[in-house]
Amino acid sequence: VIIARRNVWSGGALLLLLMGVTLLPFASMFTTALHQSGTYPQGLDWPSDPHWGNFVKAFHVANMGTIFKSSVLIVLAVVPVAVVIATMAGFALGQLRIHGGRPLFLLFLLGLTLPFEGVIVPLYYEIRNMGLLNTRWAIILPLIGLFMPFAVFWMRAHFLNMPHEISEAARVDGATTWQLFWRIHVPLAGPAVSSLGILMTVWTWNQFLLAIVLVDDPTKRTMAGALGAFQGQWGTDIPLLSAGSLLILTPTIIVFVVFQRHFVSALLQGSLKG
């Protein structure tokens, strides 16, 4: 009993320590954000007169309202389209069992391991030739394509697990493929679709490489891309930079806290099936 109790204590201590280390950078950023802008405070130091105004100032100098709107526009263009076309493809590969579905699926699977850096250089010239550099389309269109491997894979896994009898029954009763998809299978795919949507929203929000390569104007980028530009410009003003970073990462934390259950289980299933 004594040993067991000691284990409980040391186990609890380990967890507390790791939680502390995990939260430390956020805490340090928070206390720093409250110092007079332009100063060099200590890493973790609560100021005697907190400058809450730094958040307002960061909001203005980073043009946060515009950037926020830009990110939302990009998410609204990417996520619904990606979800719909991935669901259709997953349905075809998982339920309809089309001819040549296996090699086609392997082709999508190939993209799962692909680092974005592998295609970023030709992508730049492709987007340039389309005349889309420095527009939001330069992020939106490639991102839809780059999400396809995971998204198709994810929806296929869902449709594979749906009993085939549902489709057969509907067929016998004369449903066309289109009706079968929209009226029977899409309503049943709710949980898989919403998990996918949440994941892709956060990934879009956090997308950095595409933003800095394809779009020069920070006000047309994603949040993460804009933060990169903000760091370039205000990197020496640590309190202001901290305040700006906190403003930019807060929405992702809110999404995480609200959808936590969804989020974790989505990532888990996603990577396990991967």
Partner: protein, 317 residues
């Protein structure tokens, strides 16, 4: 929506019973063709913005091109450069060193933490700890990079703590020191990935049959023995997933390095992703950048395929 479903399924049931089987037969072939229409939009997006650039990467890698003037065919010269230039080789080497931190720490520590959560911690604490440890996975890597640059800076928390416990002698700018910069970047990666691995491994542990442990205890096995002969083998698939995801993250690291060190000091933290970016968009060496990109993609596959093969043998894919 459920209303539509029930009413339409009722309609189906009512209409059932005609010459269904023949119609089905005819339609089956039709459906398989029409199924391709469902894949087409996804395939188009994937082809246009992933497969096509991928092919182009291979093509560019065989040319010398500054992005403006006419490209000049150079065969495999760019690849020879990648494998002989010590700056480029160094970048690849750094990527492999990062694996130690990005994969090693999260998987080993993840196993310990998941074990602790499972066996000794109360359910409440463990679910809070899971959420907290998972947090770095959600915030933009850029923000993580900025936060850690500050934590590891001269006046950051790490040095503050070291000074407070009387180790003021070892304080330094961790990301600016040739000896510590790469491990410091590695620590940031470990911080990002620990939560993901912990949660994954924990989910795997909860699927292990408790009877196995009871049997082991009856046989007098200690905790270490239990871990080695039950926990570890049962988690083969989960460990495989953790290693796969983290190795890809290590080899293709970009955001964190870009923000925290830009590859410096000197080339101490240069990684392939950042080098590709610099070569293509600042040095105007599009061909060489593409050759490095091809090498990077091949390396990722060479690392991932054996891991997948080892951890998935004998399972349905």
């Amino acid at each position: 929506m459920s209303e539509t479903t029930t009413s339409s399924s009722r309609a189906y049931r009512a209409a059932r019973g005609t010459s269904a089987s023949r119609a089905l037969h005819v339609r089956a072939r039709d459906v398989r063709l029409r199924g391709w229409l469902f894949v087409l939009p996804a395939l188009a997006a994937y082809g246009l913005f992933v497969l096509w650039p991928l092919v182009q990467s291979f093509k560019y890698s065989l040319y010398r091109w500054d992005g403006v003037a006419a490209a000049q065919w150079v065969g495999l010269d760019n690849f020879k450069t990648v494998f002989s230039d010590h700056e480029l080789l160094g970048a690849v080497e750094h990527a492999f060193e990062l694996i130690v931190f990005f994969s090693g720490i999260p998987v080993v520590l993840g196993l310990v933490v998941a074990g602790v959560m499972r066996r000794v911690a109360s359910r409440r604490i463990s679910s809070v700890a899971q959420a907290v440890l998972f947090l770095p996975q959600v915030v933009p890597l850029v923000a993580a990079g900025i936060a850690w640059s500050w934590v590891l800076s001269t006046s950051g928390v790490v040095n503050q703590t070291l000074s407070a416990i009387g180790l003021g002698g070892v304080t330094r700018a961790w990301l600016g020191d040739f000896g510590t910069a790469l491990p410091a970047v590695g620590v940031i990666g470990a911080w990002v990935l620990l939560g993901l691995c912990t949660v994954l491994l924990l989910a795997g542990m909860s699927k292990i049959d408790p009877a196995l442990y009871e049997a082991a205890q009856l046989d007098g096995a200690g905790p270490v023995r239990e871990f080695l002969s039950i926990t570890l083998p049962s988690l083969r698939q989960e460990i495989g997933v953790c290693v796969t995801v983290t190795v890809i993250a290590a080899l293709s690291a970009f955001d964190i390095v870009y923000i925290s060190t830009r590859g410096g000091p000197g080339d101490a933290t240069m990684v392939p992703g950042l080098k590709i970016y610099q070569l293509a968009f600042f040095n105007r060496e599009v061909g060489l950048a593409s050759a490095l990109a091809v090498v990077l993609m091949v390396l990722v596959l060479l690392c991932i395929l054996p891991i997948q093969w080892l951890t998935r043998r004998g399972e349905e894919s």
